[in-house]
Amino acid sequence: MAAFGSFALLIALALAGYNLLAGILALRLIATGQQARISPERLADTARRAGIASFIAVTAAAFALIWSVFTNDFSITYIMEHSNRALPGPYKFSALWSGQEGSLLLWAWLLAAYGFVLRLTHKTDVKLYAYAGTILAGIQVFFLLILNIAAPPFAIMRGAIPDDGNGLNPLLQYPEMVIHPPMLYLGYVGFSVPFCFALGALMMRYPGEKWIRVTRIWTMVTWLFLTCGIFLGMHWAYAVLGWGGYWGWDPVENASFMPWLTGTAFLHSVMMQEKKGMMKSWNVWLIFSTFLLTLLGTLLTRAGLVSSVHAFAQSSIGTWFVVFMGIVLAVCIFTYVLQRSHLKSEHHLESLVSRESSFLFNNLVLLTACFVILWGTLFPILSEYVVGNKVTMGAPWYNAVAIPIGIFLLFLTGVGPLLPWRATSFKSIRRNFVLPVIAFWATVIVCLATGVRPWKDGALNQGNFYALVAFSVSAAVMTAILSEFLRGAGVIARQTGRNLFASTWLLTRRNTRRYGGYIIHIGVVIVVVGLAGSAFNRSEERELALHDKLPIGPYTLECVGFTQDSNLNFNSEYALLDVYKDGKKQFQMTPEKRVYLASEQPQTMVAIHSVPSWDLYVVYEGTNPDTGQPIIKAFLNPLVGWIWAGLVILVWGTLIALVPNLSPATASVRVPARTAPTQPSLKGGSL
């Protein structure tokens, strides 16, 4: 199977290479109008078909690796290092992305899969898709070159073949690890597609904004995957790492967050281009930056430049990424300089207080947030280079710098939709902002009255202060969004006689993009409320003998036993804790500690009881070597469930925004009598 996999990767490289070269040649012939022995259209089609075939070849290679994992083929180094016989079936799939070579193969496969869909749907706009497909082939060639030369997943073991493998990293033996990485990669890799469309449209001086509409859908789907991937990663960190948190500002987390921020900025600013013909250069560079950030993130974490808990993927392929990023950047700059006249704005902003400016400031804040995270990730390297002193950029730095920016962004989330396009008046501002301002101050008063004190011992309590501001701004934003819904639904209710709920649903279906966007904003607000709850986290740690008690918040944990279990994959010991509230037994929790046999690595399995107001989070930390007593650490984490609930709403809003409107808006367009009808053809354009 190793030979089959290696051969499939070689074939895939050849096919992608042909797609790239034949595509470039065909598009060049079409752009210059030169004659050749073969028709450029036919040549381009052969390139497209080669791209489709490359997906089949990479799929065969991925299948070969998975087959090797399931058949315990430890003659392959990668399988020996990342699997073992006792590994449960679902986690054998995880082996595909648990190491450098496998994760690159997954990347190449997803890229080929995206390319497959793109090339199959080429009739949407044959020429634009031909450009995009060819550029995508270039990216495929890069990853396939790495897989064939620098990080081959089918490398054969030297010497005797062991009976069993080293096993999968225990951190990855958790159900979410079966879906988190593929989801994240779907998002990460998916940004290649909008990049290809943007670059292709710029190369061919694509007339009109149709490419923006095509790209927007791809970007939204990709953004959705990336969002889900990031949140699943947060939940995994929360449930597995046992430190009571979900976001540690680890370089790998940051690497996934940066393209998310620029992608979000693009999804907002793209509306300016569609509606007003503005920010064309900005949008193109946002997409270029997003793609480059996915490469930079990969470089940072895989080249060992920064230390990370995701160190499993470190290797020496950094040089490859540096060279590729250089090529990509050079191509982007060259194309932009050559074609920048095509990107002139048709309009400019008319007022500093308008929806257009709110989009502009929203983009500014998102990009600043991206810069802050990049700065925080790279500063240790910079500091070491400049003064020879490596520093840590931990949570205190990010909390001090990123949270104010995040709250300002949340503020804009509420303000933006309340501002009309073009310009506004003081009267309009007063009318739209009364309710949100009341909601803001009411929340401030309620929070202060209920004990959220921004001051402690005469000094500012940063966590509480940010929580207070976050709650209050969230209330204002939520009020603003709901009032937008109610205003529209009220009109429909009066016109149709439907009840308010049915009117709201109809309103949403009539303009899915706008109201889907608002639902996404509601999701974001709920996530922010959940994040702000972390300011009030509490924890208690204690050695617990039998029938000892550990009080935390309204709960009391009583130890009623400790027991052990074992299977072929791991040995485990866990505590049985009865949880009491108001003197009554509510439920039992069983925090666990495992030791995996193949890797001999220990791992905690946290017990979590989640209710809307908080999570009771209990960790079995092992036994005190001096006393032999088990150590239990309990956390009471307020509002964590809101984060996951916010994600569900966010996903729902995105799906609604992707659905076409119930009644498409109609517009009369005057078409010149002699305009030739648009043909699905490769003719015309320039490069």
């Binding site: 790492l241 046992g242 430190w243 009571g244 948190g245 540690g248 680890d250 230390s307 990370s308 808990v309 400019h348 902003l349 008319e350 007022s351 500093l352 929806r355 502009l360 400031f361 500014l364 804040v365 990009l367 600043t368 810069f371 700065w375 500063f379 400049v386 003064v387 002193n389 490596k390 520093v391 840590t392 950029m393 931990g394 949570a395 205190p396 730095w397 001090a400 920016i405 939709p417 309340l418 009309p420 396009w421 073009r422 310009a423 309009s428 202060l448 004990g451 004190r453 001051w455 402690k456 011992d457 937008e484 993009r513 706008r514 966007g517 791992q603 905690t604 960790v619 930390e621 925004a657």
Partner: protein, 170 residues
């Protein structure tokens, strides 16, 4: 002379809100602070887990307990926060601090984000103002009175369609 009475309901509402906030702030009950907890969240665990000392929860961590013991000892000795940080930096290096200091090159880490944000905001505001002024000057050109009535009607229609309060949406 008596000061003029504030009769606007808006001003009264604002005054009431400010008063309520001030009262709530002044209630200011303070919790007993835990220096150990605070300091353990300003230092990093040195086992390589890249987590704060107060949050490192990985099983069998070889660094957490010794570091926490040193921290407890330093607090018991009555050392100030800065002295504790100096002791830890001397032993483990600057990487033990969870955030850079505000001295020397480290200060750049704190200033750069806000400087970039401020510069970008200022640049954007100036750019928008320039566009706005440019548009106003350009708009002075044709006199509406001398324009064709059909053209005026068309412009009014476009204005109505694009400036209908909050109808723009996404």
């Amino acid at each position: 002379m008596r000061p003029p009475r504030i009769t606007s309901p808006w001003m009264k509402t604002v005054q009431a809100a400010i008063l309520a906030v001030a009262v709530c702030f002044s209630l200011g009950a303070t919790d007993a602070s835990s220096r150990l907890n605070d300091m353990s969240h300003r230092l990093m665990c040195q086992c390589g887990c890249a987590q704060l000392l107060g949050e490192c929860g990985h099983v069998g961590c070889p660094s957490r307990e010794p570091e926490l013991a040193e921290l407890k000892a330093a607090i018991a000795d009555g050392k100030s926060d800065q002295q504790i940080k100096d002791i830890f930096v001397a032993k483990y290096g600057a990487v033990v601090l969870a955030a850079p200091t505000t001295q020397g090159f480290d200060l750049v880490a704190w200033i750069a984000p806000f400087a970039v944000f401020g510069a970008a905001m200022l640049g954007t505001i100036l750019l928008v103002r320039r566009w706005t002024v440019g548009r106003t000057q350009a708009a002075v050109g044709p006199d509406p009175a001398s324009m064709d009535p059909g053209e005026l009607a068309r412009r009014e229609k476009i204005r109505r369609e694009t400036d209908a309060g909050n109808d723009g949406g996404f």
